[in-house]
Amino acid sequence: MSPLDGGGLAHCRVLLLEDSAIDADLVREHLSLIDGFAFEIRHVGGRHAFLAAMESGERFDLILSDFDLPDFDGMSALAVARARMPMTPFIFVSGLLGEETAIEAMKQGATDYVVKLRMERLQLVARRALVEARDRDALRNTGRALHASEEQLHFALQAGRLGSWDIDLRTGRMQASEICAANFGLSQASELSSYGALLARVLPDDLPHQKAKVKRAIDTGEELDVEYRNVWPDGSVHWIQVRGRASYAEDGTPARMAGISLDVTERKRAEERQRLLLEELNHRVKNTLAMVQSIATQTLRSAESPELFRSSFQSRLQALAQAHDLLTRQQWQGASLDEIVALTLEPHQGAGRVRIDGPPVLLSTGVAVSLHLAFHELATNAAKYGALSVGSGQVELAWSVTDRSVPTLELAWKESGGPRVAVPRRRGFGSRLLERGLAHELDGEVFLDFDPAGVRCKLAIPLSLRVSLQ
C-alpha cells in the first residue's frame, strides 16, 4: 500500500474469502466507496484457494473473510492468516455473528468484524484498519531505522575507539560509555557517573586548561576540543582528547553537554619522540659542525701548504662521514672495534699487509668516532711515510684485555718493514689527536713512539660502559 499523503490514490490489495458471488460483489461495491483508496481484490471462494493465496507469497494489505463457508470456517482462516501475515488487518464479514463468537474472534487476532446486514459499516471499518496498519508500519520503520542508526553509531564509536558521554549541566550527573570510562582507565561506566568524578581524574597540572576550555565552550556555544592528561587508578598518566558541544534550555541556560572521547596517548608519545628526535638532530648537527670547525682549524695549523691543507682536510672529513655511516647502520647504538678497524684498514688488508687480532670489543658512539679518526691518522701516515708506503711494509694491530688495577683494553699498533722513521719536527694533527684528544676522551693513556724501525702506538683504555667486552 502506498501512502495516502501523495494526493493520489493509495493502491490496496485485498484478499476476499467469500463463497457467495453476490456478497463478494457487495463487498467490492462498498470498498469502492472508500475515498482515497484504489482496491485490487483477489476473490477466493473456499479453503483450497485461500490457502493457495496465503502460500503464494503475494502481499495483501487487507484480508476480508466470511465466517461460515461450506468447506472452511472463518476462525481457521484467521489462524492461518495470523501465522502467515501477522501484520495484515483481518476483518470478518459475516451474515450473523454472536457476541461471544465476535469476542473470541477479536481475541484470536481479528481486527474487526462487519455483519452483512449492515454492510455500509465496511467502509468505516476497512478504512480505519488500513490507516492504523499504515501508521503501525510507519512507526515500525522509524523504530527500525532508529535502531539501525544506533547500531551504526555504536559500530562507528567502537571502530574509532571513541567513547561517548553526556553531562547534565544542572545536576552534574554524567553518563559515560564503556569506552569513555576505559579512556580514564576505569572498567565500569558507572565509575564516571558525575562530572566531579571525571574532574578528580584529570592531572592537576592540566585542570585549569581543561576547565577554561569547557567554560568557553559553554559560554559561547562553540565546539569543545580539548586535550589533557588523566591519571589512571594504577597511577599511569594517559592523554585524552575530548570533543563535545553544549545544548541549552529554552530560556538559554546551559542544560547538557555531550560528546566523544579518544585516547591519544600514542599520538602524544609519537609527537614527543618526534620533538626529541629533532632536538637530538639539531644537537648532533651543531656538535658535528663544531668538530668540523676544529678539524679545519687544526689541519690549517699544521698544514705546510694550501694544497696539503685541502687534501688533509678532505680526507679527514671523509673519515668523519665514514664513521657516521657505520653508526647510522648500527642505529647509533655503538659499533664493534672490529668494524671500526676494518673501516680504515680493509683497503690494505687484502694484500696481506695488515694483520689484525683481538677479541670482540663494543664501543660507544663517541669512542667509535674518536678511535676511527685516530686509526685514520695512523693509517694515512703509514701510507704516506711509513710501512704502507713501500711494498714490503707490514702493520700489526693487536689488542687484548689485561688486568691492571682495573680490566683494561690494551691496543698496539706496530709498523715494520717500512722506511726508516724520523721523529717529526712538530706534532701534527694526528699526533695531537692521539696524545691529547684520545687520551682525554678515553680516560686512558696513549704512547706514540716514532721508533726508527716503525711507528708504534699503544693505547690503554680502562673498560667501562663505553668500552666493553662483547
Binding site: 644537537h283 687544526q298 684520545l438
Partner: protein, 125 residues
C-alpha cells in the same frame, strides 16, 4: 683584539668532544690562558672543581648524555663565574642557571674571547 687581560686567567674547560676541547685549548693557550682539564665527564669535572685552582669555567651543557647541572650548581655555590657552551638552544640550559651566558656551538675564537672578557673579567675574576 688585546688578550692581555685574559692572560692572567686560569680556566676550567668542561667538554666531552675531544676535537672541540683541543680547539678550545689551542685558542685559549694562544691568549696565554692557563687550562685546567679538559674534563669530559661530570664526575671528572666535579673532581676538578673540588681541587680548585681556577678562576672561571667553560661548561658544555651535555657530557656524554649526562647533564652538567651538578657542576654548575657547585660552581655557583662557590661564586665562580662560568659560561655555558651548547649545541642545543637556550632551552637546554640547567633550570637554575637560565640567566647565565651561553656560547652556542659552533662558536668562533672571537665569540669565545668576547664571552670571557664580558662575563668573566667583569665578574671580578
Amino acid at each position: 683584539m688585546s688578550h692581555s687581560a685574559l692572560s692572567s686567567l686560569t680556566l676550567l674547560v668542561v667538554e666531552d668532544e675531544p676535537l672541540v676541547a683541543m680547539s678550545i685549548e689551542d685558542t685559549l693557550e694562544e691568549m696565554g690562558v692557563r687550562i685546567v682539564g679538559p674534563a669530559g665527564s661530570v664526575s671528572k669535572a666535579l673532581g676538578l672543581v673540588e681541587s680548585g685552582g681556577f678562576d672561571a669555567a667553560l661548561l658544555d651543557v651535555n657530557l656524554r648524555g649526562e647533564r652538567v647541572d651538578a657542576v654548575a650548581d657547585r660552581l655557583a655555590a662557590g661564586g665562580i663565574p662560568f659560561v655555558f657552551t651548547t649545541g642545543h638552544g637556550a632551552d637546554g640550559l640547567p633550570e637554575n642557571h637560565r640567566g647565565r651566558p651561553v656560547l652556542p656551538k659552533p662558536f668562533t675564537d672571537s665569540d669565545l674571547v668576547r664571552a670571557l672578557s664580558r662575563h668573566i673579567l667583569s665578574a671580578g675574576a
